[in-house]
Symmetry: C2
Subunit: 309 residues, 2 copies
């Protein structure tokens, strides 16, 4: 069996089989970040969790150097990790940066890459505490591991959505897909403030970032929460120039997808601008379905963005 | 300026320029692992630090698939990270595993890779709590980030060696270089028990693992501790089949190099078998020099193993 036949998500399941055994592990594989029972001693009585996540970008898989500057590459790699920490309700603290570099890369390009990382690290007060600089025969590779913290009562996972919850999203969808995944810092708005605001309301039941696409994000929440969902196509905020299909399956948006019980909708809408209700959570047996503007149920396309397929 | 002209260590200095700013950062870049002020709530009054390190192995840079099985590759990648945590006096707790895979790799090979990782993770009670599975156009890449813990009074860094200390090592040197860096789990003995034993004596002043070679390891301790050193060539334990040069500069041994004040030598030798005294720490102005069997000082070859050179 070749990798191209099972896809990225099948492989992740391969790893995930080994159950966490340490008491300090709250959540292992399967969410935007792992959740660990560690906290800084300075936390005055308020119980916190530690978050940890990692994301790697590979040349000609996730980006092309013709379209992406080294500065943007560094910025973006840290950004996608920050988005994962934010989607858990937390904030970032420490990063490890590993870069794999072919010999054709110049020192100035490496400096630009770190400038991109450091710009965002400075803005979010992230300490870069380690990493590894290695030779890579062909492709530029940037891999970042990011630590974060979250107050225990602000933690948001994928696994607590319940039937009767509404599905909300920030921003609009399909923009990066319409631009053919061209990367640029200007297009990458992080929803870190919104994520913290949502977490601090204690009203959301589940949250995820939409990096793998809106439909895939809803599917992941449903899988983890053991529920079904309806996505109303005519409610999905579509980015300028994008098609509905790109908005549903495109990915790379780094928006937030979260669930809130119906009765708290107005409370949460008061606190956030540019939030849209795109669907609702239903019982597991009713599966995940799209609903078009005539009210007709439609099956899903094989969801999300998979690198091996 | 091309990368090949400045080398790996120059690049790491490029990153390291940004000083850590968070109170939770005890040690950032520059040791075997970063040291953070986080601890599990279950630690009964005993103050601990958290350790974090990352290491990445790239096909045709760090290993060749003709010589290394996928099982050995997984095992080895986790092993080099465990060695870094051990060199700080600590023990490993949680890992994130990122693998980059070309399409030619089979699912069975990926399973073998995880089997290698899981075997060692099981032995050291490490929870694998996350990671990323990505496509890589050409080279197999395995990157692991490893967390650990260390009791505050057991922490060993590179930076506290003092003139009058002796330089001690576990095991013998030059074996992997003599075998032309061929990897194999059988050759990779980890000195985790010895490292913990050394840490618990509270007698060592500095420690490092010898992954970049014996001379490079002594140089790193000297740089961090602002001291000089003498390495006595005829005291270096040379592996069977290896030359003195391979023992001094070869690397890939994952032995421990540590410093202890002269007066505690017999105390520490009582607790450890297979430990050798290979040199001594001197004042900074006296630099780092090799001493041959006739007592003659010799200059160092450009030390250690650098991937870009």
């Amino acid at each position: 069996v070749k990798l191209s036949q099972i896809g990225e998500f099948g492989l992740i399941d391969l790893i995930a089989r080994r159950e966490p055994k340490l008491k300090s592990t709250v959540i292992g594989i399967g969410d935007d970040a792992a959740v660990l029972k560690y906290q800084a001693p300075s936390t005055k009585g308020q119980e916190k969790y530690q978050l940890i996540t990692t994301d790697t970008l590979v040349e000609n898989v996730h980006f092309k150097l013709k379209q992406t500057s080294f500065f943007d590459l560094g910025y973006k790699t840290l950004a996608v990790n920050i988005s994962d920490i934010a989607a858990m309700g937390g904030f970032p603290t420490h990063a490890l940066v590993t870069i794999g570099l072919p010999k054709r890369v110049s020192v100035e390009q490496v400096r630009q890459l770190y400038n991109g990382i450091n710009k965002l690290a400075g803005r979010y007060k992230i300490d870069i505490v380690g990493g590894d600089t290695i030779a890579s025969p062909k492709a530029v590779v940037v891999s970042i591991t990011l630590l974060g913290e979250v107050e225990k009562d602000c933690l948001l996972t994928r696994s607590r959505a319940r039937p009767g919850d509404l599905i909300l999203v920030t921003g609009s969808f399909g923009g990066p897909a319409a631009l053919k995944f061209e990367l640029g810092t200007r297009n990458l708005e992080l929803r870190t403030q919104e994520a913290r605001m949502i977490a601090k309301t204690h009203l959301a039941t589940a949250m995820i970032d939409s990096s793998d696409g809106l439909v895939r994000s809803v599917l992941e929440i449903c899988k983890a929460s053991k529920v079904g969902a309806r996505i109303y196509e005519d409610q999905v905020p579509i980015a300028k120039g994008a098609t509905l299909k790109q908005a549903l399956y495109g990915g790379e948006e780094y928006e937030l997808v979260f669930t809130v019980n119906k009765k708290y909708l107005s409370k949460i809408m008061d606190k956030l601008s540019k939030v849209s209700v795109v669907g609702e959570i239903v019982a597991k047996g009713r599966r995940v379905k799209l609903v078009d503007s005539y009210g007709r149920m439609k099956a899903l396309k094989s969801g999300g963005y998979e690198h091996f397929k």
